[in-house]
Symmetry: C2
Subunit: 342 residues, 2 copies
Amino acid sequence: MNNDTFLKACRREKTDFTPVWLMRQAGRYMKEYMEIRSKHSFLEMCKNPEIAAEITLQPVNKLGVDAAILFADILLPLDGMGIDFEFAKNEGPVIHTPVRTRKDIDKVRFTPAEVATPYVMEAIKIVKKELNGRVPLIGFSGAPFTLASYIIEAGGSKNYVHAKTLMYEDPEGWHILMNKISDTVISYLNAQIKAGAQAVQLFDSWVGCMCPKDYEEYVLPHSKKVIDNIDKSVPLIHFAFNASTLLPQVVRAGGDVIGLDWKIDLGEAWKTIGYDKAVQGNIDPVILHGPIPVIRKRVKEILDSAGGRPGHIFNLGHGILPTTPVEHAKALVDAVHEYSRR
Amino acid sequence: MNNDTFLKACRREKTDFTPVWLMRQAGRYMKEYMEIRSKHSFLEMCKNPEIAAEITLQPVNKLGVDAAILFADILLPLDGMGIDFEFAKNEGPVIHTPVRTRKDIDKVRFTPAEVATPYVMEAIKIVKKELNGRVPLIGFSGAPFTLASYIIEAGGSKNYVHAKTLMYEDPEGWHILMNKISDTVISYLNAQIKAGAQAVQLFDSWVGCMCPKDYEEYVLPHSKKVIDNIDKSVPLIHFAFNASTLLPQVVRAGGDVIGLDWKIDLGEAWKTIGYDKAVQGNIDPVILHGPIPVIRKRVKEILDSAGGRPGHIFNLGHGILPTTPVEHAKALVDAVHEYSRR
């Protein structure tokens, strides 16, 4: 491995500089991506290993980030549960037959990830070969709550009324569903590791809608089960978006690295999390729309907040936005490297 | 005043029971409201004092809450700034000429609230007469950041790219705009108090998108200016939604009562806030879709978390949802009264 800074930071080992990558770094803000996107649907791109591999490599070449993350979608494990979904134009994911009753829950299947989503494992193998040790490759999946909320709500949601109502009205049914999802996520992430992923991230993108007691009761056992059952030979990043008030619970669910959004001071959060974990984050993605000197100032503030402690991976606090100027993303990466070089 | 429990709790005085009201308690979940709504547009209802007064009283009669809150919209102060808005069907507020440049900012006017929004003051006077001292009446306004984000983004927003970009690119322009908005909010809330509002709430509904440093620099001085300039003869409730990681900053901006959403344990939050402030909250509005025993259990947990300390006003952690069964809202109010009776 030419640049193993990211993996060292995951293990809280000393590094020459703070590693950085950007959530959704392979995406719509990049013209190279949009060129491919103009010829294929989003799911076609995810399911074609050559295309997914090519897109995965684009930001590594262009931005100089310290890790690649597989181009994929957090919903791909749904393929292993027999749940169809598509990306409707400008509407995000749509699930045509939402899971809301015991009968629906009973129908949710388990298929091993190598069988259900072979294209993901194939893409990982291609990327690994092309990276040829330049930087490590991160695999990922949606976390059980986030996947459950999508399949219950039939897509994105504002208030998660259907998901929460299922919890409150039929807690046993909820737990059965979450167990099924968890088994799929375990299979999916372990297959990615077997195919060559050198770290994995669990994205709990929507869990920030939960109160601490509900997280504890309805989410934590399942996220913990997933994390406990992932191959321990690679680090796991646990990122619960918009959930910094749930940090103690998220930490109890597990993860070697805890992802942070921008709504909390990184140094304060790390104190809460405990220094036996690494942290990842946490600049507001919108700041990349501001002038470069403002971006650089904020980068420095976050590095200062981390205090040079080993175990900080710089990242955005959420996915990069399609409207981001690519040269500003590059300026962010450069500023992290420049300011953190020891 | 027959029932001054709410006002006593705002002042952290001992009460016989914990007072409760529900954000958006005058709203779409109630058939009495929908009957009026079927004949008028939302803004017509806000701007007709007799109708606004009638709607304000509906939940007081139906639910037995301990305070009335004026039926109005957080955006009404825009009328004093010369900014037109409307409520598009299923789309929420739409501002046709967003404020994004210095030229736009220069055009933002100040008109005293009695002149710009006389209908609000008129509605307050009618409600006060009809309440005849049964329960206190709360007035309210959107907070400066929330109003700014609406008028810059041209309506609701997911990522607040325009608002934040203005901050980063032209901080001086941002502060000029926020000062103008703040002057309008001060005039608007003081006029409500003069007309008879016995408490006021500042709703910072969208400020949860900010990182602590940006809140400190771009929001706090303006929220503080508003709060410092509101008539001190009535209590002020400061509610920053989805912003519990910003609590220390929100508290520094001010308020006699700090509103809490459901994403934080109320007892923990109160410790952070300090016991020299009252707190309001904080049950998840979605729980009202669950069975009544589940609602009652959560009510008890929140009351236990408050620990019987004087200065807790029970409320939802955000506005009541249109899909809420009205009998569940009533069950919540009853449970608060029953469990907290000392």
